[in-house]
């Protein structure tokens, strides 16, 4: 296909991916990679490289708003980034040695997991939360706005478990070029019992740093193509800005159901294609 229409097509697809990613909180990467590989027949390695770029762009763009609102914790983020960046470098090194068939199957499984997680809503804040004695020593305890001008204090539990899960999230991110926000939220919300709003915003804040850790390796390996990076980066950015605007008016519950089904279908298709060696 000639460069101009192809670029327009990628740009339109990336805008859609960014919009859906922002509306559902799952990020653009989980839609972008299947779109590029299954629909536009881009090699999985180029798709992963392009996705990584989109992930850094959206994370940095969105984090700018979140950190100023005071929900995300700079300390929890930085502490856990030790685990995610190590995982990301490890994952990126694995990616260059893993056959694309296996990558496609792993990606499919992550999609299925993301779909499952977005169906099963998060437990409500305000439940009984335990805390590790290390929570204060590592200065991970903090507070977040309750929406009525007050602050809700919280502490952190099961730090080792959360740290290990974060290493896994980093590895997936480096391996698949996604932000793996779903796994990061799992580590903070479910394992470490950090309030959901703090978990999601801190996760978003961390995603860019995790992705940057493996970007250098991808650049050097030639996974990042300028012809793809250009429409993908700009498209996803514009899409996520539009998505954030729409979020105020959109019926998120309906949207989430549709999105879950789409993710589910894409996940199955990635696994089938990977299994049959079509990617």
């Amino acid at each position: 296909m000639p460069a101009l229409p192809f670029t327009m097509l990628i740009f339109a697809g990336s805008t859609l991916a960014g919009m859906l990613g922002a509306l559902t909180g799952l990020g653009g990467g989980v839609v972008l990679v299947p779109l590029l590989t299954l629909v536009l027949h881009v090699d999985l390695r180029y798709a992963i490289g392009a996705s990584l770029i989109s992930v850094i762009a959206t994370s940095s763009g969105a984090a700018a708003a979140y950190v100023r609102e005071g929900f995300s914790s700079v300390r929890i983020g930085m502490f856990l980034e030790v685990a995610t960046t190590l995982g990301a470098v490890f994952g990126a090194l694995l990616a260059t040695r893993t056959p694309t068939r296996a990558l496609a199957i792993i990606f499919g499984l992550v999609l299925l997991y993301s779909a499952w997680l977005s169906r099963n809503g998060h437990p409500e804040d305000g439940r009984e939360r335990k805390a590790s004695p290390w929570s204060d020593r590592l200065r991970l305890s903090g507070q977040y706005p309750d929406g009525q001008g007050g602050q809700i204090p919280y502490k952190v539990d099961r730090i080792a478990g959360g740290f290990a899960t974060m290493f896994g999230a980093g590895t997936l991110s480096g391996l698949l070029g996604i932000g793996s926000g779903a796994v990061k939220v799992l580590a903070m919300d479910r394992v470490m019992r950090i309030p959901f709003k703090v978990s999601t915003t801190t996760s978003n804040f961390m995603i860019g740093v995790t992705a940057a850790a493996s970007a250098g390796i991808y650049l050097k390996r030639g996974y990042i193509d300028p012809g793809l990076a250009f429409p993908v980066m700009l498209g996803v950015l514009i899409g996520s800005l539009l998505g954030a605007r729409l979020l105020v008016r959109a019926r998120v519950s309906v949207l989430r159901t549709v999105f879950t089904l789409v993710i589910l279908a894409l996940g199955v298709e990635m696994i089938v294609n990977g299994w049959m060696g079509k990617l």
Binding site: A57, V67, V74, V209, A211, G216, G222
Partner: protein, 128 residues
């Protein structure tokens, strides 16, 4: 949390970090946009094929060579330079965290941030 006023606290750090990330993304996007438009203008009808993986040419994969290509007016190199700026944005935020925690005299978090920075630099420079 104590209510004493400190010249530099986590809230100020958050505000500056937000601005830093925003500016980085805007700058990188602007460079990529210019590079992309030049790229399309240079070859609008060239056929593209991403079906098979061919690693990018060497001059686009190393920062030094990349800058020479940008200076020579290579549009693809300009896009990659924008991508590098984008990658530098979260790294700059970690560098800023090191400085901010040092100003708060939080030695533990200076060490943690420095470690994260070291891993990032390893990934960026070593590349394996």
């Amino acid at each position: 949390m104590t209510e004493e006023r400190r010249p530099f606290d986590d809230q100020r750090m958050d505000a500056i970090m937000g601005r830093l990330l925003q500016s980085g993304v805007l700058l990188a996007s602007a460079v990529v946009l210019v590079g992309g438009l030049l790229y399309l203008k240079a070859h609008p009808h060239t056929s593209v094929n991403y079906r098979t993986f061919v690693s990018e040419p060497a001059e686009l994969r190393h920062p030094g060579a990349l800058l020479r290509e940008v200076a020579a007016g290579n549009a693809a190199a300009l896009i990659q330079f924008g991508v590098l700026l984008l990658v530098a944005t979260p790294i700059a935020r970690v560098v800023f965290a090191v400085i901010a925690f040092a100003m708060e005299r939080d030695r533990l978090y200076v060490a943690i941030s420095l470690f994260v920075l070291a891993v990032l630099m390893f990934g960026l420079l070593h590349g394996v």
